[in-house]
Symmetry: C2
Subunit: 332 residues, 2 copies
DNA sequence: TTGAAAGCGATACCAA
DNA sequence: TTGGTATCGCTTTCAA
């Protein structure tokens, strides 16, 4: 025999000697119930351990109060912070987070369908890379989608991101100011739009400062990737300033450079992106860009609210200016 | 006017010219439908963009397929890994994760009620500290609860954790072996059971090795906390070996010690716990304990399965032996 | 203020 | 293989 798990409003009503409707009203803020009835109901509910189910309400309203957060790579502290920030704001709004960690785009199709079946109210993709195909799959679910740091064009899909080009330009200006003559860029995955935008801005800034084209090496947005890329760049040419697509890469690069005897920042200046906690740690003291996660999250939620209305905002994009956090890794 | 968000099986049935039951069967694996009917249904479903709702099924079965994961401090890479590991296994089982980041115990009461209303199938608490009160709140929800790294006693609440005492003993043995004479322990928060157990084991091990009682300083399981604690210990006495309650503390301690000119590992050996990625980074090369997250997760899921049955396992506890990962911070 | 009754959108059983 | 119908636990009219 299957154990009955939850008491229902009917059982509470029976115990309290009132109608089921009375129970429902007691748990509906602002409904009209007499104090006497309410007390009886609450007493009965207490005895039975009754918690009104939210499920029927979802059925009635098609709104679940669930917001899906699709993430890859929580090991990057930046995304951990994004999740925390979302969580805090969504909780204030009474929503729950459905976390969907994803390894690659491949699993995203199945995920989108599943989320639709749960009637989630919105999907936030915090994937470093979101393919156009995947975006369209999500778009087809008719659920408002906001993509973090990946501009995509599809109906009911908006995007919010750091102003990467601006950050890139600032990085170039700072390195120039610190006397760098031979700049390099350690990129993220080839298909990462954020990395591409940071590089584009970096190039613009270098050009404006009269500096040469940067050496470029790709990595994987990871510590190890940054270390390898730094070695490839170094074998290539004399480099005295490196802008990295994110902090994890930058930390790997710093360690790799030091391992082969290059001094940071004395011989090579390094800049990262994200301002993760480790950037401030003793041995690194990494100059970086704070993406302003709270502002990003705020913008994402506002966009979702707009898209949840009858008319669907299409392809909207919001950029948040990053804040340069200067530390020791760019000392002149 | 409210926009209708999702097409229903009735609408699909009408369009396909079949009964609603036929639609349901088409989407029920292993149900008997003729190929002809199924094709008509699928075509209609495709046109309308129909995805069968999971909500009615939850109502019928009281099983949502939702598992709640309560976490504090995702900024600790260890918990990020725990979440990823859970996610992977739960997805295989067809479950979704409801992520509940929590700042303190205080919010946990509201959280438990909310989760009960969503009819989540289980709750996993990966909080570093779970008070007895909070455990009882969760227990009262009648939902199976598994607590990570925090032994608690309450009905339907089990716990899974690293064998912290064993780790502590191994840490003592290793330090002794490396010639340490003046040991210290940097603890987590005063109410953290994991920290207390690691310390207890460490004390046992030191005693067995004929070493003196360790100096002890509390911290907050953070980088900054570890740095401060290291300074307090140092002001106190000559210390040449430090076992830290977790890696984050250990990294902070290493940086703080080096800042004041102590050489690690030459003058002071350091051991952490968790084996987070940063432990392997160049400047640190921190010896640590791998808690074996996959095994912990496996054990937690098995426990949940047992508790979901009719009879509720009470206060069960499973310990997983940690693996010592020796690196440069404990070179003799 | 209260109770009765009609849905919400699926599943599952029953006859046909 | 099919279609009709009861059912899950609520919220929401509608009368009383």
């Amino acid at each position: 025999m299957v154990t009955k798990r939850y008491p229902t409003s009917v059982e509470v009503a029976r115990l309290a000697g009132v109608s089921q409707s009375a129970v429902s009203r007691t748990f509906t803020p602002g409904a009209s119930v007499s104090a006497r009835t309410r007390d009886k109901v609450l007493a009965a509910a207490e005895t039975l351990g009754f918690q009104p189910s939210l499920i029927p309400r979802i059925m009635l309203t098609d709104r679940s109060g669930l917001v899906a957060l699709v993430v890859g790579g929580l090991e990057n502290a930046f995304y951990a912070r994004v999740v925390q920030s979302f969580a805090a704001r969504l909780r204030e709004a009474g929503n729950q987070i459905v976390l969907v960690p994803v390894d690659s785009d491949y699993t995203l199709d199945a995920v989108a369908a599943r989320l639709a079946q749960y009637r989630v109210d919105a999907i936030v993709s915090a994937l470093a890379v979101l393919s156009q195909d995947a975006a369209e799959t999500l778009s087809a679910s008719r659920i408002p989608v906001v993509s973090f740091n990946t501009p995509v064009t599809a109906a009911r899909v908006g995007s919010v991101g750091s102003d990467n080009a601006l950050g890139g330009r600032q990085a170039a200006a700072l390195l120039h100011d610190r006397g760098v003559r031979h700049p390099a860029f350690i990129a993220g995955p080839a298909d990462s739009p954020a990395s591409a935008e940071r590089l584009a801005g970096f190039r613009d800034g270098l050009r404006a400062a009269g500096l040469p084209e940067p050496r470029v090496a790709g990595s994987a947005y990871t510590y190890e990737g940054g270390a390898e890329a730094a070695m490839r760049i170094r074998a290539d040419a004399p480099v005295d300033g490196v802008f990295c697509a994110n902090d994890l890469c930058a930390l790997g690069a710093i360690d790799a450079l030091r391992r082969v005897g290059r001094r940071v920042p004395d011989e090579v200046r390094v800049i990262g992106y994200d301002d993760i906690p480790a950037a401030g740690w003793g041995g690194y003291d990494l100059t970086s860009f704070d993406q302003d996660v709270p502002a990003l999250v705020e913008a994402a939620l506002a966009m979702i609210a707009r898209m949840s209305g009858p008319e669907s905002a299409l392809g909207e994009r919001v950029l948040i200016p990053p804040r340069l956090i200067e530390r020791g890794s760019t000392r002149a």
